[in-house]
């Protein structure tokens, strides 16, 4: 793609390597950020210990709302993790070039969020020691078993898809990281798998990347479809829908896309990679977001207009609650502020510049989080068979500080994984960037060897 060559002049291999590895060495601002994340995680751990000791009674979840903030966060995390598949696999396989500098960022986000998604399920359990029961006594008929299977599979494939394109970068890291602690060099040695840049090795790795990229597409579609089936396979109002699978998948792309835009902004500024993640990439991501959000909007209209037009008796209180009841403010903020307005704004070229993109992406991702909240909680507040003489507290739900702390721990944990990965490995693939700048593999090998001698 000719427009891939942007306003930046041709870079030499030397500048590429030093630009992309510099953030790994440079620790400016790193310690406060890590301390901040660790603080949140420690607070969450403290809250979790309280929850373990006293049981789920410390949450606001009662007989009506038994899936609260944890499960809605779980869907949000799974959704965010799905972007790795879209960017690196789907766009990569069709040969779109502008994703080169952001594919690894997308994979890092996928890894961080997918890993913590599994943990959130455990946070939602009053007796986490019983998690083994699902492997010993789980029923294959239950979507929960499918979900556990597919989440674990996705994490493993995501690790592979992160690791494989990393291998050709390792020789550059080995060379430039000689002044770094030995444990880091041991990791690089381990992950190089004996890669020395031979054409056969490149061919093998490219083939493996291709296999994994193809494999992750159905698995990623499955992960979010199955997550939606946890809801759609019930008869509950608001969940009993045939389009929940694609509705969740497209919603996930919107969420993950916004997460990638935010990460692109942070890395391009904080890691000083403006020459690599340029306005051009923000523009492309903005266009992609418009497409994804329009598809998602289409599903949203389906999901609410069709039942709203019919107004079946059981759906009526639920829909009224969303449209003009207790959840109306959140609902319309999410739909308009998190979906309709971003679509309109991103249609303008000026709005696809980095800073406006960041603001819009933050709005989209906050909207996406509360969208999951709106999918989960109002339905549970409208059971088909209300309990008689139910205590007042059962019919409302507002998450307790314990729940918020544990959820924030999950967010901080995912960010911590992304941070650690970004401090260990270049966030932009060196070899692919160099290759696109017209540098051959022989030149790369020579570069590595020369410095090593």
């Amino acid at each position: 793609m000719s427009e891939g060559k942007n306003n930046v002049s041709k870079k030499t291999l030397n500048t590429i390597v030093s630009d992309l590895t510099r953030p790994i060495k440079n620790h400016y601002g790193f310690t406060p950020w890590i301390l901040f994340l660790t603080g949140i995680i420690l607070l969450g751990l403290f809250a979790y210990i309280i929850q373990l000791k006293n049981g789920l009674g410390v949450t606001a979840m009662r007989d009506y709302v038994s899936w609260g903030l944890y499960i809605s966060s779980f869907i949000f995390f799974i959704a965010t993790a799905l972007i790795g598949m879209l960017i690196s696999a789907v766009l990569g396989l069709i040969g779109i070039k502008w994703i080169t500098p952001i594919s690894r960022i997308a994979e890092m986000i996928a890894l961080g969020f997918a890993m913590w998604a599994g943990l959130i399920i455990i946070f939602d359990m009053g007796r986490p020691d019983r998690i083994l029961n699902i492997f010993m006594h789980g029923r294959l008929q239950s979507p929960i078993v499918w979900d556990i299977t597919v989440v674990n599979t996705y994490v493993v494939i995501s690790i592979l898809l992160f690791l494989l394109p990393l291998i050709p970068d390792i020789p550059f890291l080995k060379k430039t990281m000689k002044d770094q602690p030995t444990w880091k060099q041991k990791i690089y040695n381990l992950l190089s798998f004996g890669f020395v840049g031979r054409p056969e090795q490149y061919a093998l790795i490219k083939r493996l990347i291709r296999i994994t990229a193809i494999l992750i597409v159905p698995v990623a579609l499955a992960i979010h479809t199955v997550t939606s089936w946890l809801f759609a396979s019930t008869l509950r109002v608001g969940w009993d829908s045939t389009i929940f699978g694609p509705y969740y998948v497209t919603g996930a792309f919107v969420t993950g896309g916004a997460a990638v835009v935010i990460a692109m902004f942070v890395f391009s500024r904080d890691f000083r990679l403006k020459n690599y993640i340029t306005d051009f990439h923000f523009d492309k991501m903005g266009r992609l977001m418009v497409l994804l959000m329009l598809v998602y909007l289409y599903f949203n209209i389906n999901e609410f207009l069709v039942p709203g037009y019919k107004m079946k008796l059981a759906e009526k209180p639920h829909l009224y609650e969303l449209f003009q009841g207790d959840f109306a403010l959140m609902f319309w903020l999410v739909q308009i502020g998190g979906l309709v307005l971003p679509v309109i704004l991103l249609l303008f070229k000026k709005m696809r510049k980095p800073v406006p993109s960041l603001v819009i992406a933050v709005a989209v991702i906050i909207g996406a989080f509360f969208k999951r909240y709106i999918i989960t909680i109002p339905t549970l507040l409208h059971p088909h068979l209300p309990i008689q003489n139910v205590p007042e507290e059962f019919s409302t739900y507002w998450p307790t500080p314990i729940e918020w702390s544990i959820t924030m721990m999950a967010v901080a944990g995912a960010l911590l994984i992304i941070t650690i990965l970004a401090k260990l490995f270049p966030v932009i693939p060196i070899w692919e960037t160099a290759y696109e700048e017209g540098i051959t593999t022989e030149e790369m090998n020579e570069f590595v060897k020369k410095e090593n001698d």
Partner: protein
């Protein structure tokens, strides 16, 4: 008197609470200040039917179905005080109301007390009034009080033509045994929730013998087993003695326990085959590729030589 208690007590207790809630508004708005305004002619109205032990008994059955949820069994203080329902067995009530007034009251209704005008026939309404007034000792009931005889049934089973012969006898006070002639015998089949009548108009002959040909289409259990119960229709006269016999005349039940099938809602052992195949092939297929890729990574080193 009669054992209506065990069947209905539970029902009464629940029903009382519900009725109390439902009627509380009505009570406060209307019946608290309302007064019965019974016309004088009601006081002396003459029942078109006679008050006998039989009609009182029929009134009792209707009363139990329709009245005790609020009024309770007369004389036991089970009336619902929350809605000002009267205990109809109370002396103060009985002294103040003639049978005609009782009739008028539930025919018309007042406040929380609904009108039963169109619910029952004229006769039935009088029967209920008789029953209510039967708690007044000065109320005259004609006819003879029914005396239960010491009756017995003997069943003999004939498997070849599926008939049951019943011999009904009555032992009198002197100990001599006589045939219970010309009385109706009912046959039932025991089902889960009570007894199902299977006979019509079977009467004993002069010798107290009745023969019943068992129908062919009654479902039995997995072995065709059926429990047959025989009893007198006129329980007031002959008592509630029944005789039971087990036969294998029922249609054999072909019952497939759905819990033993492979279903979506079954246990893990009974997962549907299509689901098992789908799950295993997809999961194993994906993990095969994962292991293949992981194995190939270890071959990168060799490829470099």
């Amino acid at each position: 008197m009669i054992n209506h208690k065990n069947i209905t007590m539970k029902y009464i207790n629940i029903n009382r609470k519900v009725t109390a809630l439902l009627f509380i508004l009505m009570t406060f708005s209307t019946s608290l200040n309302a007064q019965w305004n019974i016309p004088k002619e009601a006081k002396n109205s003459i029942p078109p039917v006679e008050a006998t032990y039989k009609t009182v008994e029929e009134g009792k059955v209707l009363f139990q179905k329709n009245c005790i949820s609020c009024h309770g069994i007369p004389g036991k203080g089970e009336n619902n005080k929350a809605i000002n329902a009267t205990d109809l067995g109370d002396e103060s009530y009985q002294l103040k109301h003639t049978v005609g007034e009782v009739f008028y009251q539930f025919n018309t209704g007042m406040g929380a007390m609904p009108s039963f005008k169109n619910r029952f026939s004229e006769e039935e309404k009088w029967h209920i009034a008789f029953y209510v007034k039967s708690f007044d000792n000065s109320f005259k009931i004609s006819g003879e009080r029914i005396k239960t005889l010491n009756a017995n049934l003997k069943m003999s089973i004939n498997d070849s033509d599926k008939t049951i012969k019943v011999t009904a006898t009555v032992t009198d006070d002197n100990g001599s045994i006589n045939a219970a002639a010309n009385t109706k015998i009912n046959f039932y089949v025991k089902r889960i929730f009570g007894n199902m009548p299977v006979s019509e108009d079977i009467k004993t002959n002069e010798d107290g013998i009745a023969v019943f040909k068992f129908p062919d289409d009654i479902p039995g259990d997995e072995k065709g087993k059926i429990k047959i119960i025989a009893g007198f229709e006129d329980t007031d006269r002959y008592g509630k003695n029944t005789e039971t016999a087990e036969v294998t005349w029922g249609k054999v039940l072909h019952y497939e326990n759905p819990n033993l099938k492979r279903t979506l809602w079954g246990s893990n052992k009974r997962v549907p085959v299509w689901l098992l195949i789908t799950y295993l092939s997809v999961t194993l297929g994906v993990w095969f590729v994962i292991f293949y890729v992981a194995f190939q990574i270890t071959r990168i080193k060799n490829a470099g030589k």
